[in-house]
Amino acid sequence: MNTIAIIDYGMGNLHSVSKAFEYVAPDVNVIVTSDAEKIRSADKVVLPGVGAMRDCMAEMKRLNVDSLVREVSVDRPFLGICVGMQALLQHSEENKGVEGIGLFSGNVKYFGDELKEEGWRLKVPHMGWNQVNQKIDHPLWSKIDNDARFYFVHSYYVPANSDENHVVGQTRYGHLIAAAIARDNIFAVQFHPEKSQHSGLQLLKNFAHWSGKL
């Protein structure tokens, strides 16, 4: 049986991610675990994360999740969600600077307290349903409309022009931001697919059945 391991490093609501996978892929064995061996033997791995990247990275380092992520993201389908995406970059400017895992180049930036678009002030966090433009075709976009809306909640973002060739989905909120980044068998999203109703569930279903090949 195909196994998806959701890495539990004590940050955030893992229940929703696992329930969403169980809902869309009843034929898959979904486990939430911090056990390195179980994660190594899983067919697919998910790195979730909510809250502050500093806290997430600190916990990952303490539990050696960062090196485990480098190891398992080489050879099997790997999905990062929200801070689990941001953590894959080199660096974040959150809390005066946090080093990331570095699977993608670039920095995670703060939206700022004076975010504006066409003269209108935008609220931070970026919270709610925004459209994702599928900039590059990818198996995980299968059966999802271009510009479909997904649920976002974040105050830090990855600019869409950083590591540009790997940005497969982008969204506008004051800046053009990376909504999804991908490379080989790795896919990571800024939004929460587990909270994005039909489109989000379709993406998780696509991941559950993805070979990791493009």
Partner: protein, 258 residues
């Protein structure tokens, strides 16, 4: 292309049942919050809020169970409010599958709790609920005060200053209820809504007083709200969430419509 405004149906839950009545023709068990939430999800609700109105100890376990059930069947964001007083209360609700918690009275009595909660769990899951009542007289510049205990107890705290303070303490969102308008079906108190949305940088959910669909549109277009929360207009089947979205969209508001 941009961020959509949100519609949030709110369910008052007591001992695991929806109270205030919910009437959907095709739901036999009208009192099950999960069934009701599913219905709203199908209609296109952008989020769901559960308010635990008794929040006794015993009731807490029932609520946790309801949240768990909801989180395994409905895949849109869920906020849980009512009786959130300690860090442990938040942890339990988030672990059960809630995405945000709404803190109300506890924030008034102990503002540091909001700071502690935001540092521990992240601002994104901390909603501060503000119950405001107009205290200025007719003809005076608008002034609103925070009330607790369902609008019965005045605190002497200015609502706008309080919203600013809660933002500085790490709240990720403000749920603003006008106690004057709540249940009156005359529309939101647009004065306090506009004053608070202009004063702070985080999203504001307008609540209290919705009687028709134009009220929802006014909350966004005139009050500047980022989201609108309503209960009875949806519960009694007067309007569906779809109808509300279609109306708001026709008023020029960006909505999520499949």
């Amino acid at each position: 292309m941009g961020l959509a405004k949100r519609i949030i149906p709110c369910l008052d839950v007591d001992e695991g049942r929806v109270v205030k009545g919910v009437q959907f023709v095709d739901i036999r068990d009208a009192g099950d919050p999960v069934e009701v939430a599913k219905k709203y999800d199908e209609q296109g609700a952008d989020e769901i809020t559960f308010l635990d109105i008794t929040a006794s100890h015993q009731d807490r376990d029932t609520m946790v169970h309801t949240v768990e059930k909801m989180a395994s069947q409905v895949f849109i964001p869920l906020t849980v409010g009512g009786g959130i007083r300690k860090v442990e209360d938040i942890r339990i609700m988030l672990n059960a599958g809630a995405d945000k918690v709404a803190i109300n009275t506890a924030a008034v009595f102990n503002p540091e709790f909001v700071k502690e909660a935001a540092e521990r769990f992240g601002s994104q899951c901390i909603v501060v609920a503000i119950d405001a009542k107009k205290v200025s007289k007719e003809g005076e510049p608008g002034r609103w005060e925070i009330f607790t205990h369902g609008g019965r107890k005045p605190t002497g705290i200015d609502a706008i200053e309080w919203a600013k303070k809660m933002t500085a303490y790490g709240a990720g969102e403000i749920l603003l209820t006008s106690m004057d308008q709540d249940g009156m079906k005359n529309g939101f108190d647009l004065g306090v809504t506009k004053a608070i949305t202009d004063a702070i940088s985080i999203p504001v959910i307008a609540s209290g007083g919705v009687g028709n669909l134009q009220h929802l549109a006014d909350g966004v277009n005139l009050g500047g709200a980022d989201a609108v929360l309503a209960a009875s207009i949806f519960h009694f089947g007067e309007y569906t969430v779809q109808e509300a979205k279609a109306h708001m969209s026709a008023c020029g508001i960006e909505m999520r419509i499949d």
